[in-house]
Symmetry: C2
Subunit: 346 residues, 2 copies
């Protein structure tokens, strides 16, 4: 389908994309020949542009206007024409400095998200570390006073989850230890994902005679499964899109912004993709309708995974108009991901 374009057409498409990205105005043959002398006249370019339109890479808003890239045009640009550039040293420094001092994971990520949106001036989304993908390490019950205790669950990735429960007096310390030991043995090494309801039922059965006493301790487990179903999505620069001329219509703005209030959609946006095609663990670009979600049909999404050790635990993304500075965004996303990996390694 996607034919090979001759050199001049490639160059032309590239110029048009660049020009349109920076001006947001449909670009005409005249503009190109004036601004980027290619040794041919505007008439020639006109012919070439008509060809590119026929091939589906360009479109006209109306007959007597210049042309702008279609989704297919952007796709070709990203796949074939993009030269991987890198970010400026200054930007590099900004990233490094902002992430350097932080300790807490959530904090790091929220800062990363802010930096990402600032540098790109688009909207950033970062899918936080997913508790459920980390492996169970141990469970402790820490007596607080006569009838209260703190259940603490720790995962191999350093997540800690806890809950204050009431401890029936009738339970001796020794018994408690036994139960805890048993649970630890059974669950060690499983990811939280794998602690299914059926496993919990099984555990309960095994501990039949002590169930009621520890009903509340189990609550922690169950809540971990349900409530934390979706990791938090960290947003930055949600209003940046308002600077884009294509979003001057209030209804579009509304549709776009209300997306950010639906964390489940955001989660799917980030998590739902990257399925197979994410070969090298590198950056993925989804343009316009390539994304099933209607709200982003006029947007492009650039994502990458970040990891602790060799395990992917979340995603970094930038969402902007399809008329996006892909070159730059790709570089920034790549850089942020690398820094995030480094910092999270501790």
């Amino acid at each position: 389908m996607t034919q090979q374009l001759n050199g001049r057409k490639k160059k032309l498409l590239e110029l048009i994309v660049n020009e349109y990205v920076s001006t947001a105005e449909p670009v005409g043959s005249r503009t190109i020949s004036r601004r980027y002398p290619m040794g041919v006249s505007s008439a020639t370019l006109r012919n070439e542009m008509a060809d590119l339109e026929e091939l589906g890479y360009l479109e006209q808003p109306h007959t007597s206007a210049g042309r702008r890239p279609t989704q297919k045009g952007y796709r070709y640009y990203v796949d074939k024409l993009l030269k991987t550039s890198s970010i400026t040293e200054e930007e590099e420094k900004v990233i490094q400095n902002s992430l350097a001092k932080m300790n807490e994971v959530e904090h790091i990520i929220s800062v990363a998200s802010r930096v990402l949106s600032q540098i790109t001036s688009y909207t950033s989304l970062i899918l936080g570390p997913q508790f459920k993908k980390s492996a169970f390490n141990q469970l402790r019950i820490l007596p607080l006073d006569d009838n209260k205790g703190l259940v603490v669950m720790i995962t191999n990735m350093g997540f800690v989850k806890n809950k204050v429960i009431e401890l029936p007096r009738s339970l001796s310390g020794a018994e408690l230890q036994q139960v805890v030991q048993y649970l630890n043995k059974k669950m060690y090494g499983l990811t939280i994902d794998q602690v299914t309801e059926s496993l919990i039922k099984e555990l309960k059965r095994d501990l039949f005679n002590r169930i009621e006493l520890l009903e509340q301790a189990f609550l922690l487990l169950e809540e971990s499964l349900n409530e934390e179903e979706r990791a938090r999505v960290f947003l930055g620069g949600t209003t940046n899109i308002l600077n884009q001329p294509e979003f001057k219509d209030v209804n579009k703005i509304k549709q776009f912004l209300s997306l950010f209030e639906q964390e489940d959609l955001l989660f799917n946006l980030l998590e739902g993709e990257g399925d197979v095609c994410e070969s090298s663990g590198d950056v993925v670009v989804k343009i316009g309708r390539e994304n099933p979600l209607e709200e982003v049909h006029e947007c492009a999404l650039v994502t990458a995974s970040y990891m602790i050790g060799n395990r992917t635990i979340g995603k970094v993304g930038v969402l902007g108009p399809t008329r996006m500075d892909y070159d730059r965004v790709l570089a920034v996303v790549r850089a942020i991901t690398i820094h995030l990996n480094r910092v999270l390694e501790r």
Copy 2:
């Protein structure tokens, strides 16, 4: 300054506010006399309206337009004319049902915020429980393995904060217990607010010979002081304002929405006020420029405090245009607060 208005003027102002609130159009004498027959002609109303304008309660966008309430007009309406109504049974049910099942505090509040914005169709803000206002209860160090431990800090309001630290092997279990015991004794009953840097320094001095070993444990304390400086602000319906005709200008939208990305501003908005005047712990209304923050000069903010026990731990608020349905919003905020108090009581 604020003179007494005669009965008819009061009634008229009330009608105008109501009418303007529901239509968003400046209301003219004719409209009023047609829609709400008061036994007098439009000419009479015209005179009365001219008076109200002179007194500063009404204004005209331009000479030949109807009139709309000024900030002063709204203030008079809220202070003198508002009849406290209550919410519908259905709304009552919605609130009750949404909040009933939840356990975790954060979750409760985030749901409350969503419900609040849904019912009012304005933007809701809830200032989450403030860790720093709860009192220190105890600190524990829980050994994880040979060289790691989990520091757990628990407050009287059931907040738990923790951090994984490295434990130097050279520290014996008994020594550790001693240190922990000492810290507990020193800090018991203080609010986190009161654990100042100077106190930490003092503690460090007392434990001089063991400082280095526990440097990291102190980190938890220090982070508690700094990072969690501000409690989280939970938002709901941030895009609801886009449905309001007075916010059809993209720049206004931008200014308004970018407020929501600055948590510190939101924090001040909610916390900074309610200072003294909040006599009965009841609902507070701030209209337009009564609020120092420029971004909300065309908005009204309705807030109330919620509490655990008899201690205020956070605030509930609704932010909308000054042309707000005060009657309804006050009722809803009141209701939400009551339910929140009840649910948080556990």
